[in-house]
Structure formats: structure tokens, C-alpha cells
């Protein structure tokens, strides 16, 4: 999940009898699957939760350009270079859609970006892991975008209209990226040398668990989920989505001819699902807190980009003003 731990600030969910008339009308609309639009009344906590979730999602798209930017100058063929450039461009575009969706809630893009740079706002933990070989570009497409899609497909039905519509557009492009990523790995496994096959397995070993963490804390440790589900911002629980991801990904892993770095992974015929091992939750929370392998570099890079670019943005504003004055005269 791109926005994997979103505070709702709500300790206990109100039932309909405890709600004001406005709140009740809102909840009834949610319950009958009517989309909430920008000008509709909404509880302040709903608005704030969405701002946090959509901004976190947008920040993830932007920070997510960095692990790929690390390899775009070193892509091994013209075709792969073009694919990666197109993908990075799409991600910048997704960031733009999402910031726009967030702004319909009255939030300011620059203010939210400033929170990212001060460490106050989060982004997906996955982008705090380094990309160490070319196969990481395939594994990021396949596993990371794959995990994002599982989450985002459900978010197409999220209760806030502008967010749900952004997800529809984004999902189309993400599915394309995921197939491309998988094809990178398949090519290396089927036509590559032993060194390339080792790269693929190494990338999977490093990115498997961080990808599972993208769905957020387990349901029992996800106190904010209940309210998000009641508001239908979230439509399915973290653990349900994680299970779906594992179930659909393992056959793809087998088709590659790779192994999963989880000794506890096995098919459970009774449940009709794969059982899998325990996530290192300590690592997950540490990475979210800022203590992951690349947290410092990622935020520093983004902060530097915006600081170094200040004079460029100021020039654009000054020039636009001059032109406006000239036209008025």
C-alpha cells in the first residue's frame, strides 16, 4: 500500500444514534455507496484522514522516483532505458493527479510537501530500501507496483470521488509497469547468464519482505483501520490485501523459477491460501519512523531539489507577473 499507516485521530467509531444530523446524513450516503465530492459536507476527521492518506500516497509517487532514478542512467539497453524513463514520467504524473485530488480537500500542496521534508509526513516504507542491481528495476515493477495495484484496485471504490477517480487512471498505468517489470525478470531468468539469474534472486530476496510491508500493520495492530473502513476510505483490511498479494504472486514467482525468502511459506489447501511467515514488524516500524536504510538520503534529495529550485520557481512567478502587467498596460 502506498499510504500504509494513516492516523484517523478517531478513538472510537460512533454509531448512528450518537451522530449529529449532518454526520448521520453523511454516513448514510457512505453506506449507500454515494461518492463524496469536494463541495459536500464531511466530518473534519474524514477530511483530515483523507488529506493524510492522499498526500502520503502522492509523496510515495515522488520519492518512489528516486530508487529508479538510481538506475535510469545505467539501464542496459535502449529499450530498457526508454521503458524506465516512461515509467518515471508516469510516476511524476501520478504525483500530480494525487496532489490535485488532495487539494480538492482544501489542503495546500506546498504545505504538505514541506511536511514531507521536515519528516512529519510519511511515504511508503518500500522506497527507503536501496536499489543495488539492475534486477531491482524488474522486481520493483513486479513486486512493488504489484502490491500497489492490489491496494489501488480496491481504492478505485473509495468513498471520496476525486481520490477514486485518480485511482482509476493510475491503475491503468501501474498495471502496465508491473507487466514490464515482470518481463525484465523473465528475460533475465529465461535468456540470461547465471550472473543475471543471481541478480534476480538477490533482488527478490531483498524486496520480498519490504513489499509485504507495503500493506501496513497487521489488522490486530491497525487501530485506524476500523474508522477508515466505516468511512469506506479503505475497503479491505491490510491482512486481506496482503494475503491476496501473496496468493497471486507466488505462482508468478514459480514461473520465474525463483524461490521465496520465506521458509514458512506453504500452500494451505484447507484455507485455499498460502500461509506465510511472520513479518519483521520491528523493522517495519523503524523504517516508518525514519530509521531505514535510505530514509535520510531520500528526504535529503527531495528537500535539496525543492530548495535548489526555489530561484527557478521565483523566476517563473516574476516573469508571469511581468507578462501580465504588460498585457494589462
Amino acid at each position: 500500500m502506498y499510504a500504509q499507516l494513516v492516523e484517523t485521530g478517531v478513538k472510537r467509531i460512533k454509531d448512528l444514534s450518537e451522530m449529529s444530523e449532518q454526520e448521520r446524513a453523511f454516513q448514510e450516503k457512505i453506506d449507500s455507496e454515494i461518492k463524496i465530492e469536494a463541495k459536500n459536507w464531511m466530518p473534519d476527521a474524514y477530511r483530515q484522514t483523507l488529506i493524510r492518506q492522499i498526500s502520503q500516497h502522492a509523496h510515495s509517487e515522488i520519492v518512489g522516483m528516486l530508487p529508479e532514478g538510481n538506475w535510469v542512467t545505467r539501464a542496459p539497453s535502449l529499450k530498457r532505458k526508454l521503458q524506465l524513463m516512461a515509467k518515471i514520467q508516469d510516476e511524476a504524473g501520478h504525483g500530480l493527479y494525487l496532489y490535485s485530488a488532495m487539494e480538492t480537500l482544501g489542503a495546500d500542496r506546498d504545505e504538505e510537501v514541506a511536511k514531507l521534508h521536515s519528516g512529519k509526513a510519511k511515504y511508503s516504507s518500500i522506497f527507503n530500501y536501496p536499489t543495488l542491481n539492475w534486477a531491482d528495476m524488474g522486481a520493483v515493477g513486479w513486486l512493488v507496483d504489484g502490491a500497489a495495484i492490489v491496494n489501488q484496485v480496491v481504492l478505485q471504490r473509495t468513498s471520496y470521488g476525486p481520490y477514486s477517480r485518480a485511482m482509476v487512471r493510475i491503475c491503468k498505468e501501474e498495471s502496465f509497469h508491473q507487466r514490464q517489470g515482470y518481463e525484465i525478470l523473465l528475460t533475465m531468468m529465461r535468456h540470461g547468464t547465471q550472473a543475471q539469474k543471481d541478480m534476480v534472486q538477490d533482488a527478490i530476496n531483498r524486496l520480498w519482505w519490504p513489499s509485504l510491508m507495503m500493506f501496513g500493520p497487521s489488522d490486530e495492530h491497525s487501530p485506524n483501520s476500523a474508522q477508515s473502513m466505516a468511512w469506506k476510505i479503505k475497503r479491505q483490511s491490510n491482512d486481506e490485501l496482503r494475503q491476496r498479494f501473496v496468493d497471486q504472486t507466488i505462482p508468478q514467482l514459480e514461473l520465474l523459477g525463483c524461490t521465496c525468502p520465506d521458509p514458512d511459506l506453504k500452500w494451505n489447501a484447507e484455507r485455499g491460501h498460502y500461509d506465510f511467515g511472520e513479518i519483521q514488524w520491528n523493522e517495519f516500524y523503524e523504517v516508518l519512523k525514519g530509521n531505514g536504510p535510505c530514509n535520510q538520503e531520500r528526504v535529503a534529495t527531495r528537500r535539496k531539489a525543492i530548495e535548489d529550485g526555489a530561484w527557478v520557481r521565483e523566476a517563473a512567478v516574476a516573469h508571469a507577473r511581468k507578462k501580465q502587467n504588460k498585457n494589462a498596460a
Partner: protein, 253 residues
């Protein structure tokens, strides 16, 4: 057969320049002054690398020595590279980057327009498609020169500082060598004097509107990328770009 050798050289010049310019734009990933610019820089880079692939594929076919476009891009050393000196220069700040882009675009567009009329149908086809992209590139980079030149005091100062950093490399844009002269006479490539005049006019128009001084014509300075005589920046750029195919020569990506 003379034309064929000239043509291969010319295709490498076009392809290598687009590729190296695209590679420089890749280095901006995640570092642009605004999100819209992340998108635009990668978009322009993508167009250029795409064009490079088309030119190099054609060059590889004419060479017919078993090398393909990837081989030409990722296995040639700097002495065999034929890109313009201008595009291999470091990105510097946004003023340097956009000035390089503008000076290149203002040359690239009339070249492509001329090539779209080439007697070589393959060239005419590739160029016709690329003209649409280069038209967009030039509009965008020209607008940035105006915004920065006629923006704030600081942006004006940075533009003034950027000009001497890259201006001398434009000497290559306005002079043809014998090989290009022969291709022009065969109606394969446009007349370089006409390209140079269009380039000069565009630079004067945009610089004037950007309140920037138009520098005097650049002098020849004893480097010549057409002969593979590059600045010291290209070798490092290629070391990064070519690392994987060089380290794993038997690999399939």
C-alpha cells in the same frame, strides 16, 4: 560508396547527440525544481532517446557488421562517439541545463525540418516524426530562457553566468565539414548555412525577449566531436551509461 560512409557518420552524429542529451536529462530525475519539471525533463529525454534509437538502428543497418543499435550505444568508446560537444557538458544548475537544451533545440528543429525533406526516405520518415517532438522541446526551452532571463535579478544573473559556460560549444552547430557538405549536395541533409541562419535568428529572438545579450559568434577551439575529439566529460558519462553491457558482455537484458 562515399555517400554511405558519410551517411553513417551523419547518423551517428544525430543519434549520439540525442542519446547524450537524453542521458544528461536522466541525471535530473528526482532533482528538478518542480514536479511539473520532473515530468517535462523526463518527457523530453524520452523523446530524444527514442530518436537516438531510430538513428542508431539505421546506422547499424548501413554498417552491416553485426552490431545493432544497443551495441553502438553501449560498446563504443568516447573516441568513436560523434555527439555534439554541447550536449555532453555537465548539467550545472537549471539555467545551464535549459540553456544547453535551448541551444540544442534551436539547432535540432531546423535540422529535422530539413531532414524531413531528405531524398533518403528512411531519414525523411524518422525526421518527420521527430519534428513534432522537437517543436515542443524548442517551445518549452525557449520559454524557460525567457522566464529565467526576464524573471528575477538572481535568475537573470544565473543566465548571464550560464552563457559563457556553454556558448563556445555552439561553434559546432553552425559549421559543416566536407562529409556533411557532400550529403547536402546529394539532397540527403539540409544546407548547414540555412540551419545556422535559422539557429542564429531563433537565438537572437529569444535572448532579446529574455533581456539577455547575444554573444559574438563562437571561435573554433581545437576540439572536434565529429572526429571523436571530446571534452573530458564524455568518458565519465559513458562509463556510467555503459557499465552493465560492458561488465556482462554475454547478457541478454
Amino acid at each position: 560508396m562515399n555517400n554511405k560512409t558519410d551517411l553513417i557518420e551523419y547518423l551517428l552524429r544525430l543519434g549520439d547527440s540525442a542519446l547524450i542529451q537524453g542521458q544528461r536529462l536522466c541525471q535530473w530525475c528526482g532533482k528538478a525544481p518542480a514536479l511539473e519539471e520532473e515530468l517535462a525533463l523526463m518527457n523530453v529525454g524520452l523523446d530524444l532517446v527514442g530518436q537516438a534509437r531510430n538513428w542508431l538502428e539505421y546506422a547499424a543497418e548501413l554498417l552491416d557488421d553485426g552490431r545493432d543499435a544497443d551495441h553502438l550505444a553501449f560498446r563504443r568508446d568516447e573516441r568513436a562517439y560523434r555527439n555534439l560537444l554541447l550536449v555532453e557538458q555537465p548539467n550545472g544548475d537549471f539555467a545551464v541545463t535549459m540553456l544547453k537544451q535551448f541551444l540544442y533545440d534551436a539547432w535540432h528543429l531546423p535540422v529535422l525540418q530539413g531532414l524531413s525533406q531528405s531524398s533518403d526516405e528512411r531519414i525523411a520518415g524518422i525526421a518527420a516524426k521527430a519534428v513534432k517532438e522537437a517543436t515542443y522541446h524548442l517551445r518549452r526551452s525557449g520559454e524557460w530562457i525567457e522566464r529565467m532571463g526576464d524573471g528575477t535579478e538572481e535568475s537573470h544573473k544565473r543566465m548571464l553566468a550560464a552563457i559563457p559556460e556553454v556558448w563556445r560549444f555552439t561553434v559546432e552547430l553552425i559549421a559543416a565539414d566536407d562529409s556533411e557538405q557532400r550529403l547536402c549536395e546529394a539532397s540527403i541533409t539540409p544546407d548547414i548555412a540555412s540551419v545556422a541562419a535559422q539557429w542564429q535568428a531563433k537565438v537572437e529572438q529569444i535572448f532579446t525577449s529574455a533581456t539577455l545579450p547575444v554573444p559574438a559568434a563562437p571561435n573554433y577551439f581545437y576540439l572536434n566531436a565529429r572526429k571523436g575529439l571530446h571534452s573530458e566529460h564524455l568518458g565519465i558519462l559513458l562509463a556510467e551509461m555503459q557499465f552493465l553491457p560492458r561488465a556482462y558482455p554475454d547478457a541478454t537484458w
